[in-house]
Symmetry: C2
Subunit: 144 residues, 2 copies
């Protein structure tokens, strides 16, 4: 469904959101540890998220990654997915035709679009804040 990079990206963003709620800024090392991901690869992904303004980074001692509390409600999953995997998941044809096209649809078009639309709505409506709070109260996990 999502690329590995995107999976790590979402897990990292949720962890950063959680820590930012407590006013903590976190390092790549801590993030990779807490979400159980390869450190250097995670660093690359965080760079992407930072460039795309999904998260905020600060260099130097006491630096690290954070997410502004005020942004958190408006930061939806689809922004992370778009930043990392692009919009193929939104516009691509389920059977791999050049593009999904209503006028010359593949045999699966109608059924595929229905599910893709649900997925899009889910990603567009789910905020990092929402996901972070589930973590906070111990209902959900970022590693196992």
């Amino acid at each position: 469904m999502f690329s590995k990079a995107c999976e790590y990206g979402i897990r990292a963003a949720v962890y950063i959101a959680l820590q930012s709620l407590e006013g903590r800024r976190v390092s790549v090392n801590e993030i990779a540890e807490e979400i159980d991901s390869p450190i250097a690869f995670t660093a690359k992904i965080l760079q992407q998220l930072s460039r795309n303004k999904v998260i905020h980074s600060v260099k130097g001692p006491t630096g690290g990654f954070e997410i502004e509390r005020t942004d958190m409600d408006n930061l939806k999953l689809n922004m992370i997915v778009k930043a990392i995997d692009g919009d193929q998941i939104y516009v691509g044809c389920g059977l791999g035709l050049k593009e999904c096209n209503e006028d010359k649809p593949c045999p699966l078009h109608d059924k595929f679009v229905a599910i893709r639309t649900d997925l899009r709505h889910m990603l567009e409506s789910t905020s990092l804040y929402e996901l972070a709070t589930g973590l906070e109260v111990g209902l959900t996990y970022l590693k196992r």
Copy 2:
């Protein structure tokens, strides 16, 4: 969503189904031509489908691939997807945890499972026959 191999596999299977409805057996070359896919790679995928009894193959002159008319209604997309991509799409965690686990869910679990379940139902209920008939009447396309 699906791998390239799986996309080609579904397109190929639908084309074979369509031709089988007209009593024709088709070669890899014809299939690859009609669904616009790399020939040798398509051949590999057809082997997989053949081994998994999704399609039937006949060697030698006049040989090729076909699908029994009697099977066609019962041949659902999920069999193709399982044969080629395995069941990761059915049991995998959306955020990449080792496995999807109700008891120690990732933050996205509930929302992800809802969509994954819809997808599963769609794949389990959609038959090759159904997809082939749409092609037959010119409503849908396998290449563009």
